[in-house]
């Protein structure tokens, strides 16, 4: 790898990493602000103008709290829990293409940490590792509430991963590729997968809510039943890491949703914009500006879904545990299989007919 390419790639990775952390940080602020607005309040507005320094204040508070480890807890696993949660949350963003590519000095560098041809499999692998953070932390606390929360998290994630995977299979059948970049490229312009896969999208987003342990599926940490769930015994920045990991997961899953179903960095009229920009600024600068606009579109979509997460959280009450399991096993899995069958029929019979009619 040449030096310039290495530098550009490193810069891209660092920027993506920093942006992920920044967005996760401001999601906590956004969450409270959205909650306030939905409940006819103003939300935090004291720290800085409009309260935009609130995340810093929260983090400062977290740092100065006592870092407590219970006497009967398994010390190493107790520390490993939040580390694992944070690690798995951050690892996922590696394969997500946030933009097209940057041209510099005759090089073309993709706005993506790693171009993996099994991208979506990687995401699923890391996401299923994500439950270890919760599981390990809950178990190591040596507390009944924590253990119950951890067990709930594990069973919930396993149950919902199945229907999540099945809902993705339909997309894979349509695109014929596991690479997220390839999936995005095929949704060029406004040709998004949501128009072909509305059912799959609903299943996927429901499962994403469950995977992120967000309301209405936040049973692992429901304070009305389990005190604090798996993080009952945690305090200080360890608790902060758990909460932070949740927000990172939220952003990453929003990014995956917008990549798989809403065209990623594609937006309607992008070809026209591209032609205008390249004719105005030349081949290199125009291409880079077009990439930036695409990246902005991607982030706008992802942030909308982050907002959607919050919106749902402050609207819906929590599911009961049996309802959760019924929904997962008895409704979503059969629906996902039905979706696969319908998509298969469409790909096999409808697509040749439509392409024949169009040509």
């Amino acid at each position: 790898m040449e030096l310039t390419e290495f530098v550009i790639k490193s810069l891209v990775i660092l920027v993506i990493f920093g942006l992920t952390l920044l967005i996760a940080m401001y999601s906590t602020y956004g969450e409270r602000k959205v909650a306030g607005f939905i409940q006819d309040r103003l939300g935090p507005n004291r720290a800085g103008p409009f309260g935009i320094l609130q995340p810093l204040a929260d983090a400062g508070k977290m740092f100065f709290k006592e870092d407590f480890i219970p006497a009967q807890a398994n010390k190493w696993l107790f520390i490993a829990g939040p580390c694992l949660a944070m690690l798995t949350a951050l690892m996922t963003s590696a394969v997500i293409p946030f933009g097209d590519s940057i041209r510099y000095d005759g090089l073309e560098v993709a706005v993506q940490a790693v171009e993996a041809n099994i991208g979506i499999l990687y995401v699923f692998g890391i996401v299923s590792l994500g439950v270890y953070g919760v599981m390990v932390g809950g178990w190591a606390s040596n507390n009944k509430f924590s253990l119950l929360g951890a067990i709930r998290a594990a069973s919930q994630n396993i149950s919902y991963e199945i229907s999540m995977g099945l809902s993705i299979v339909a997309i894979l059948m349509m695109t014929g590729s596991l690479s997220i970049r390839e999936i995005i490229e095929q949704q060029h312009g406004g040709n998004w997968n949501i128009w072909y896969q509305p059912l799959g999208f609903i299943i996927f987003i429901t499962c994403a809510f469950a995977e992120c342990n967000r309301t209405p599926f936040d049973l692992p940490e429901c304070e009305t039943e389990l005190v604090g769930g798996y993080h009952t015994e945690y305090s200080s920045m360890k608790l902060g890491f758990y909460l932070f990991a949740e927000y990172i997961n939220m952003f990453i899953s929003s990014a995956v949703i917008s990549a798989l179903y809403f065209g990623g960095y594609n937006y309607p009229g992008m070809d026209w914009v591209y032609a205008q920009l390249t004719s105005a600024f030349g081949d290199v600068a125009g291409h880079n500006v077009a990439t930036l606009i695409g990246t902005a579109a991607f982030f706008a979509k992802a942030l909308f879904f982050v907002f959607f997460y919050m919106w749902v959280r402050w609207t819906l009450p929590r599911f009961r545990y049996d309802q959760l399991m019924n929904l997962g096993w008895k409704n979503l899995i059969p629906l996902a299989i039905l979706n696969i069958v319908i998509t298969g029929t469409g790909v096999l019979f409808l697509k040749p007919i439509i392409t024949a009619l169009l040509n």
Binding site: F37, Q39, D40, R41, W311, V312, T315, L316
Partner: protein
């Protein structure tokens, strides 16, 4: 027995398909929360914006002067006796010759102290006072204190400033209600605040 118009008979009927699908209900609920998202917020941002608490609100104490600027208090001690929290204490003194312009009665309070931590702002001192000397202001509260010696208020803080007299538009609830009524009808334009009841 039907108590309100909104009461609804609970039934255990089979749910329809759209109810079972759950999604229409979710969309409905989210529409409601989105509506609230854009609604005007009811919050009053306290230190910057202060609400008018009405003419009968009981805030901090004031020791009134009469229209010639003489202190009304005669140190009879009835307020201290009436006070259920025992927040008021005073030391009486006899008025000397040449002090007639300072004190209205022949006896006056040389020291008059209110412990603002003990005070419960019940207003019994107001009612007990035969000289109409002590009042609880409706427009000012006791500010937040950081030192313990800021808690006990002496005469320097309590006695009325003649350049900035304490006035009210209405002195009773009935008066306030009448005033509000007039305001609503657009009659009461210039209500002169009165200094002395």
């Amino acid at each position: 027995m039907q108590l309100t118009e909104r009461s609804k008979q609970v039934s255990n009927k089979e749910m329809t398909l759209s109810e079972k699908a759950y999604l229409p209900a979710i969309v409905q609920g989210m529409a409601i929360t989105l509506k609230h998202f854009f609604k005007k917020k009811v919050t009053i941002q306290y230190p910057e914006v202060k609400r008018y608490l009405g003419p009968v609100f009981r805030g901090r104490h004031i020791l009134k002067r009469d229209e010639e600027g003489r202190e009304r208090c005669t140190a009879c001690g009835l307020c201290a006796v009436a006070c259920p929290a025992e927040a008021i204490s005073m030391v009486a003194e006899e008025r000397q010759k040449g002090e007639e312009h300072l004190y209205r009665e022949e006896k006056y309070a040389a020291v008059y102290e209110v412990n603002m931590l003990r005070c419960i702002f019940c207003g019994l001192c107001e009612e007990a006072c035969p000289k109409q000397a002590v009042y609880l202001r409706h427009d000012e509260m006791v500010p937040v204190f950081t030192e313990r010696d800021q808690v006990i208020w002496g005469k320097d803080l309590l006695v009325e400033n003649m350049n900035n007299r304490y006035k009210r538009e209405a002195w009773t609830k009935e008066e306030a209600r009448q005033l509000d009524q007039k305001r609503a009808e657009g009659q009461a334009a210039g209500v002169e605040p009165r200094a002395i009841p």
